[in-house]
Symmetry: C2
Subunit: 515 residues, 2 copies
Amino acid sequence: MPPTVKLSNVALHLSPRDEVAIALAPLAAGTIIALGDGAAHLVLTGDIPRSHKFALAQIPLGGRVHKYGQSIGLATAPIAAGDHVHSHNLGMDDAGRRHEFGTGRTTLVAPAGPVPTFLGYPRADGRVGTRNYVGILTSVNCSATAANLIAEAFRGAALDEFENVDGVMALTHQSGCGLVPTSDGAQALMRTLRGYAAHPNFGGMLVVGLGCEMVPVDALVAGHDLPADTVVSTMNIQGEGGVRATVKEGVARIRSMLPQLNERRRVATPVSELVLGLNCGGSDGFSGITANPALGIASDRLVSYGGTSVLAETPEVFGAEHLLTSRAVAPEVGQKLLDRLDWWQDYAAQGGGSLDNNPSPGNKAGGLTTILEKSLGAVAKAGQADLTAVYEYAEKITDRGLVFMDTPGYDPVSVTGIIAGGATVVVFTTGRGSVFGAKPTPSIKVATNSDTYNRMPDDMDLNAGRIVDGTATLAEVGTEIFEMIIRVASGEQTVSEELGVGQEEFVPWQFGTVT
Amino acid sequence: MPPTVKLSNVALHLSPRDEVAIALAPLAAGTIIALGDGAAHLVLTGDIPRSHKFALAQIPLGGRVHKYGQSIGLATAPIAAGDHVHSHNLGMDDAGRRHEFGTGRTTLVAPAGPVPTFLGYPRADGRVGTRNYVGILTSVNCSATAANLIAEAFRGAALDEFENVDGVMALTHQSGCGLVPTSDGAQALMRTLRGYAAHPNFGGMLVVGLGCEMVPVDALVAGHDLPADTVVSTMNIQGEGGVRATVKEGVARIRSMLPQLNERRRVATPVSELVLGLNCGGSDGFSGITANPALGIASDRLVSYGGTSVLAETPEVFGAEHLLTSRAVAPEVGQKLLDRLDWWQDYAAQGGGSLDNNPSPGNKAGGLTTILEKSLGAVAKAGQADLTAVYEYAEKITDRGLVFMDTPGYDPVSVTGIIAGGATVVVFTTGRGSVFGAKPTPSIKVATNSDTYNRMPDDMDLNAGRIVDGTATLAEVGTEIFEMIIRVASGEQTVSEELGVGQEEFVPWQFGTVT
Ligand SMILES: [Ca+2]
Ligand SMILES: [Ca+2]
Ligand SMILES: [Ca+2]
Ligand SMILES: [Ca+2]
Ligand SMILES: [Ca+2]
């Protein structure tokens, strides 16, 4: 007879409401599992692959099955305690996807004690930066090389005497002309460029254009509520007489900004002034049970203190949007999310695709049964907080609490939108091993499994894989993420900053016609 | 009474068939102009602004008006010799826009004497390169920083001992994930990446990916007929264990390629092996009467010797496509061009725009009256040669003679497609002053006017403005362009290469849905 093992040693039970647990390692049929305090037992009726689900209790035909405390589907056959729960006995739950507004709200209670603080740069518009960069913003691809050449003049020892300036970065992109200026695509580009120009992590901003592009350089900064203490300068290559003259003049203008920017100092600031961006990339079967729910704990904690957290990646939310609408603080907020999902269904159809993706064969092999379950794993990044607002891509974020921004899932495009909106710190979860960075905002990378963490140690900030290894709990990793957010916001370098990754990841969303 | 001036001193008469000439300077009403050998005269009946048209002979109501030897419209009022010809007396000519196939073909006769040669790098697949670069191709934005860091290791003195290697360049872009792999947009990206991998100007090619993107790195080079003498290597960041390890390994792999690439030598090659890309950007009222027709002369000369010339920028051809279809060598070729224009009308309509743009107010102020006239100015880059083939964006060019590639007008996107197709030298005409470059292919910039040339001397290779200044003829500038093409193809540096411009201008066309 096989030995008895404790549930918490071999499986994750994500919510007390859940009828299923997730195997942390392959479990053989016949394994006896002690539940709770050990008085109750169950016996596995079949082999359970790693990261797959098994039932903790009997579920009748048609019964609702929960994970994360949320319905992931209905039993399509009677399920006994100890049964493997997957496509053979679990199907969709359309009733559970009804869109209700505000029926699932939660009051998050901040932990007792004072509100934690971080060391940030207070800005003239009331926002608080976590870095002190000079940006070189380009209005069009034509000025990309000039911007890069200007930025290169400030690498190496050039900033040694300006220790409070984090760097000079070129914000280059591949668009800016051949667009219909009034089109949605052109407007999204404009919001992105203006959002970066006004970002609190830029103390100085040089805008470089060619001179005949769609949007004049001044239109990116004039009248677009930049903080009054952002040192701004604009120039055109055609006006300066070419690339060489532009680089020389641009370097001189930034040099003249540096002494005043170097006077800026970090001051202790309540974490309620942080704007946290949430993202995932290269997800795997562990994302939804380790890094994402741990990040959800950190996000909820920030929100409980009055801070702001930004969920995004609309296509990955599809299927679990009812959870967000039920958490909406007002019907308009929930409806706006549904409107964006409608837009996406049209947009995906235009591209010959569909948002209504069932889990892929790879997802299914990893134990994900329904689209509800898959999307719940992505939404887990956003914890339990109420949804206070829904924003268009790259729109300026002005509400507090948990907000949603409509972006693609594609990492650099999604995070560029969030940063344009004002995010001052990003947490990025990755299963396969992303090497993402997102200057001027520090981006903390959390590995979902220990294999990836150990294989790419230079590129990972934190290992949530310990949750499945059994060496840390979800709550512990959630606390670690929260504490790392504070340290990084206060100036501690992330691995991507140490490596110099994060300039190429400025990728404004391109959609619409280019002529 | 005002003095008599010679027509050729104050105006351009582009074709003997033309009823109009273009004023090279503002001409006052009453000016007496001597025509031809001076026996015939006309008197200007009104003031003619610079670059505007006046009639050389009487044109009856409804009469066809020609420029470049082509109809630009019908007289909407009787026109007398000496009259200003513009919107008040010239309208559209729809009959002149009938699409006929092959009715306007021309046999180009090569000048007497031997076929000129350039010094090129013969490649194993029979194509001939004009440069000898190492490329670092990225399958996705996630590997952009690693590719840049690898390329940076070969700047400065690092290549001093490899004098026959032109450089190591990173081919980074902002796409590569979140696409439906079978969509037109994803296929265009794949063609672009594969076209660069196989380009004759790359002796060596390192392909760097992340590891979980849409297209595995091997799929960009394996089985896609790269020249057998391209030294190829592929790697993934996830497989190498992160960015730092990837950069170290990538630098080592390129170092090991350099000795063999440095053994390559230029050999004298007939110009028939050149593939010339044609483009314009930042056009002005002079583009269509100076740089573009001069480039057309150079293009025709190359074609007369059996070479290949590539016209592109479909939206800018709209309105003059009948000229190209009438030059098509086969009905299928003409029909393919019309099919692409149909696609563009749908695409533009999706974006809320229209291709059927009449000349803008700026165009009209510059003297352009109808869309026919405007598009004729763009098509003038392609001379008079027959149209032998029409290609999709970034498709490999295998026909000789004048061919057309379907691209947007937006400069970096258009030229990226042409280079993916195999262009080994580009000529780029600019009025406002573009600072374009296009590594690994040298790009010659021709200014349309002397103001721009003199204002941006570091960024212009040649001044076609001398045609309106009266210090050079169209034929002379056409010959200069042809001769510069040969010198540059043989290794002479263009101004953009000297400045280091051309890496950021690798911009694959992005269209279709990104999720
Ligand atoms: Ca860039
Ligand atoms: Ca993502
Ligand atoms: Ca680039
Ligand atoms: Ca162009
Ligand atoms: Ca770059």
